[in-house]
Amino acid sequence: MSNGQSRFHVPTPPFRPGDAPDFSYLNLPKAGTARRPDALASWRETVDLATGLVGVLDHNHQAVGDWDPRLSPELMREGLSHMVLTRIYDERMLKLQRQGKMSFYMKSAGEEAVAVAAAMALRPTDMVFPSYRQQGILFARGRNIVDMMCHCISNSRDNLKGRQLPVHYAWAEGHFFTVSGNLGTQFPQAVGYAMACAYKGEDRIAASWIGDGTTAEGDFHGALTLASTYRAPVILNVVNNQWAISSHQNIALGDAPTFAAKGLGYGLASLRVDGNDFLAVYAATQWAAERARKGGGATLLELFTYRADAHSTSDDPSKYRPKTEAGLWPLGDPVERLKQHLIGRGEWDETRHDTLVEAMTTLVVRSYKEAESHGTLHDGPLSPTESIFEDVYARPDWRLRRQRQDLGV
């Protein structure tokens, strides 16, 4: 590593466009090999898990090892259904964005298990502080798809009155906090929320998600400090999808072994988890939730996954990484892996899968038609113009009243 002389160093990704990706350097441990400590074990019991990998589904799509959450086939089919819906919804919205129906879009392709499995392992009343790529939580919590679309096309039925970019959802009824566009701000907020739940003597917990790149933000470290200091009932998720727009995860990781390992220095239980393995994400979230609810404090989960598509509609990933990377990702695709697991158990088949895809496609297409009947960003109707002066404060002061008059609305 060193030739005895200090040298200016900037890390580069393992592969850039034109390279043939080879992920063997990752040395990922096999599914089923990770120990499962008691949920209230000391953080020291997670040291090897923070640099290892919690995995359940093996290369033959069998559930193996101590972390198998032993879910019922019904629950797994429900999870598969939410993931399929998330993917179809994303595809459809992307297409509509390209047709100019909305200003912007962000898919969660390849990362559906991270959001869906976590949401299903949490209680519906646990508070979530997501980033912009956990739309799967909304599907798992049963949000009306038409409402989601009305937000994305900023029409008259947008529950955010047209104030937020698409996918920056907020849904109080579903205990889904307002998504920021600034990175990582929600991480320490989630800790504060969790502390308030504990203060009030509730057994609700909070969970938050950021990306690998955002761990470089001060708010990541602030959140971990608060979570450790106050033993807050919170799950702090780092979705390591390898890429922060065009920057490889090593720009944020530096020479640290894993993102999960960063939690150990704060005295937090820390696990690295196969984020493309629905059962592993479910099991790890369930473990962390039990720990939080029983007074064991916070857990840092690194969900090891791959962002299979662009960061957003504003970038072209072929400009900064090989096109073949996603297909070669050694942890596969979360939808395909859960589907094959269910098929292997005789609980699913291709025909049923095709029927599911068809039903979800129909649902999404029909929902969009209905959403559009409430207006679109370009053609309206939008929320009333005067609504831009609402909700700045509980009550508008003279400045806002006058400015509304100045605008003539």
Binding site: K161, Q164, A170, S180, G192, A394
Partner: protein, 337 residues
Amino acid sequence: MPAMNIIQALNSAMDVLLDGDPDVVIFGEDAGYFGGVFKATDGLQAKYGLDRVFDAPINEAAIAAMAIGMAARGLKPIAEIQFADYIFPAIDQIVSEMSRIRYRSAGQFTAGCVIRSPWGGGIRGGQTHSMSPEAFFTHVPGLQVVVPSNPYDAKGMLIAAVESGDPVIFFEPKRIYNGPFDGVPDKPLSSWARHPKGEVPQGRYTVELGKAELVREGSACTLITYGTLVHVAEAAAEHCGIDVEIIDLKSLVPYDIETIAASVNKTGRVVVAQEAPRTSGFAAELAAQIQEECFYALEAPIFRLTGWDTPYPHAHEWAYFPTRDRMIRALKTVTEA
């Protein structure tokens, strides 16, 4: 009514709030056991327990974020930032998050909380313990920004701030914590016990946010200011031989345009005073608004009396600070114009 200084009045406000509402929690660096470096939270942890009044790690962004998260769950946090100069690490959480939670969620979530912070100069604090950063926050939709100038207002405004339901940046003029300051350096400190606003009721009361107060009536010139400079202004008025009308602004956002306009329309001459550097300071906002409202009543250019466009100096503090003598010169300039 007992005489209190501003620290005691703030302490009394927090005592009343903690006692009356289990959702009120207080935290900050050294704010728990030690009671804060200026002792504003002195004795409150002992009285109300570790859960209600506690120490926070030295991370202002995390302190602000914790307040946001707690407020979203229905608590009423009062967070102390040890010096206003230290608030900048929290700027993203305050400016991009706290101020907009209500707006960006269309009212589904709110972040009503109070950030208390010792503010302003006059204590030989040098560049990192003397700043008046109010204009950074008055520029932010969704925040209320207030600066009390005496013990009575400090208590009543803090209670009103906590009960307002929206985030409030509550700046405390630390030079006058223990007694009013007339803007003449190096004189012995006078006591709040001899000031009418040093009389503070023990129980709960509020002083309405958004309302200014005419603290001296006059006909020749309107002097608008807030915080420590209210007392400098009163001293200047006593010594300049000009019939000055003084407005203690108290709330910067929203500010009381009616009281300002009524006075300016009467006097036709205005000095706006702030400790902060001049360019893009809050005085500029007031000057602009006054000329929009009262242009035809004005008989002289509006005078901005401010700190200089330099960092706050240590050794030459009194060359920077708008002292009584500078204020007298400003009043003469405006009334002789």
